[in-house]
């Protein structure tokens, strides 16, 4: 009984610990004071107005969003065929290839960022959108593979064979049978990929400039010098995007974490 109570207290404390910082940020973005105050004193949307009036924030939001969208699209276009080949074909070095494609998940992003900075500099792409983009594609592709691969099961294979047997050409089979079957894996993979790109600092920081920067990098550079409610407003927007992504994920494919049926 005491163990149970203790477990409950610890668990809810930890949940509070997980939520508190986000609450503080969102709360203090509405403060009427010129410094960060939590609980907020007064209530104003002025800081959001200030943010919208600053074209550099809007530009950074634009860059972040464009980068995440293009990188996600590219990761899907590269990742889905790779997943199909890995799930459907036997070839030498398959395990190695899969480890290679998944390794950006565990590789320190600082190391990869540094490598891409040096490499892209040699190619004359230093600190360009392209340099950012290729790095992001590399680090988010594992999310696509990880979501799609488990759905390419032998049962799924039987459906494809049935389709071919009924006279469908390979491309028809892919679009009419395979794609609808792996839809939920694609959706969750794409959302994880998008978010991972959208929130990245450690990789992006090497290849951004003062003019071309992403929101997290801009925040990082800003926060090191000043903390003001504008930062809280910008951060709140990113939290909002995260919450939106989770809700979309939960409503479309469902968050089957911590439950038995997966």
């Amino acid at each position: 009984m005491i163990t149970r109570l203790l477990l409950r207290v610890v668990s809810w404390s930890v949940m509070a610990y997980l939520i508190l910082p986000l609450l503080v940020i969102v709360g203090s973005s509405f403060t009427a004071t010129s410094y960060l105050a939590f609980p907020p004193q007064g209530l104003t949307l002025a800081w959001y107005g200030r943010m919208l009036g600053d074209s550099s924030y809007l530009a950074a939001f634009g860059t972040s969003t464009l980068l995440a969208l293009v990188a996600t699209a590219a990761a899907l276009l590269l990742g889905v065929p790779a997943a199909l080949a890995i799930a459907r074909c036997e070839f030498p070095g398959k395990k190695f290839l899969l480890s290679l494609l998944m390794s950006p998940l565990v590789l320190p992003h600082v190391v990869l960022g540094a490598a891409l900075l040096q490499y892209c500099a040699a190619l004359g792409l230093m600190r360009s959108f392209t340099a950012l983009l290729v790095g992001h594609i590399v680090i988010i592709m594992p999310f696509v593979l990880r979501s799609v691969l488990p759905q390419l099961t032998p049962e799924q294979r039987a459906l494809e064979e049935a389709s071919a047997d009924l006279g469908a050409r390979p491309m028809e089979t892919f679009f009419l049978v395979t794609l609808p079957q792996i839809r939920s894996g694609l959706a969750s993979g794409a959302i994880f990929a998008f978010i991972s790109s959208w929130i990245n600092v450690e990789l992006s920081i090497f290849n951004t400039t003062a003019e071309m920067t992403t929101i997290p990098v801009k925040l990082f550079n800003y926060v090191q010098y000043t903390i003001d409610p504008v930062i809280a407003a910008v951060s709140s927007i990113t939290i909002g995007v995260a919450a939106l992504a989770i809700i979309i994920l939960d409503l479309t494919v469902g968050l089957h974490l911590l439950s038995d049926r997966r």
Partner: protein, 281 residues
């Protein structure tokens, strides 16, 4: 085999070419730079890294912070995972909690660390509370201490361990726990002899993941150190962004990479060794 290869090749050509061009080759460039000094092959950069006491101090601090973070994550994450999977009966409550767990994961490290900069400040909520309750006489310094960094990192990495342990717990067949208590084990004995060993692979992979991410974290330590504490990834960043010494920076990168890969290898080994414990059907 050749038929399979013929089918696989068109699918693999683009992704493999991309990964070679923008992942493998850049990494090879870093490795080869790290082995060059003054235009000739040399191990001098590694000597510079490994023979300098300062680097060992930074490494020690990095590992100390990562170690403390990992222990704290395990101690806080395990009970929460157990609570969410085994105690919470309401599916709606569990779902809400899972969303609240994933929300921080979907938020940038920078935003989350920034929240702690506010909370841990001299006049932040944490100090106010500690002084208000009477635990402290006067505000304590968190920012710029290893404790502050640990608090921030634990916060950022905790969801990983909760999800790893929670998913392992959810995969344990409840019939095994029933069988244990049927054979006369008390609830604590059942936890000790059945539940815990069966979730151990999940816990271990969570632990290794957290440790790996903590060792290679840059943003959180950079923000919460207040410039007073240096961790290893900061050294790499300095070399590439300000000094631009790709040879020395490469050696630093490789040092961090090798350490990380050793940990990941360990994780894989533990994962394989403990592949038992799934549903016994």
């Amino acid at each position: 085999m050749s038929a399979a290869m013929n089918r696989a090749l068109p699918l693999l050509a683009a992704p493999v070419a991309f990964f070679i061009a923008f992942f493998a080759v850049p990494m090879i460039v870093v490795v080869s730079s790290s082995l060059m000094a003054g235009g000739v092959p040399s191990l001098g950069n590694y000597a510079r890294v490994l023979l300098d006491q300062y680097h060992w101090d930074v490494l020690a601090a990095t590992f100390r912070i990562a170690g403390l973070t990992t222990v704290a994550c395990a101690l806080l994450g395990y009970p929460l995972a157990y609570y969410l999977v085994r105690v919470v009966k309401s599916a709606a409550l569990r779902r809400t909690c899972v969303i609240l767990l994933v929300l921080p994961l979907f938020t940038s490290n920078i935003v989350r660390s920034f929240g702690w900069m506010v909370l841990l400040g001299r006049n932040g909520l944490v100090n106010d509370a500690l002084v208000g309750v009477g635990i402290l006489d006067r505000p304590m310094r968190f920012l710029g201490t290893e404790l502050g960094i640990v608090i921030g990192l634990v916060y950022i990495l905790l969801p990983f361990i909760v999800l790893a342990v929670g998913n392992a717990l959810a995969a344990v067949d409840p019939a095994l726990e029933d069988a244990s208590s049927d054979l006369g084990a008390t609830p604590f004995d059942t936890f000790r002899t059945v539940t815990f060993p069966l979730c151990l692979p999940g816990l271990m992979s969570g632990i290794v993941m957290v440790f790996t991410l903590a060792v290679s974290a840059y943003v959180t330590p950079a923000l919460l150190s207040g410039g007073k504490i240096t961790v290893f990834p900061m050294l790499i960043f300095q070399q590439y962004s300000t000094v631009f010494d790709v040879n020395y920076g490469g050696a630093l990168s490789m040092t961090l990479l090798v350490m990380t890969l050793v940990l990941v290898g360990l994780a894989g080994w533990i994962g394989n060794a403990g592949a038992t414990g799934r549903k016994a059907q």
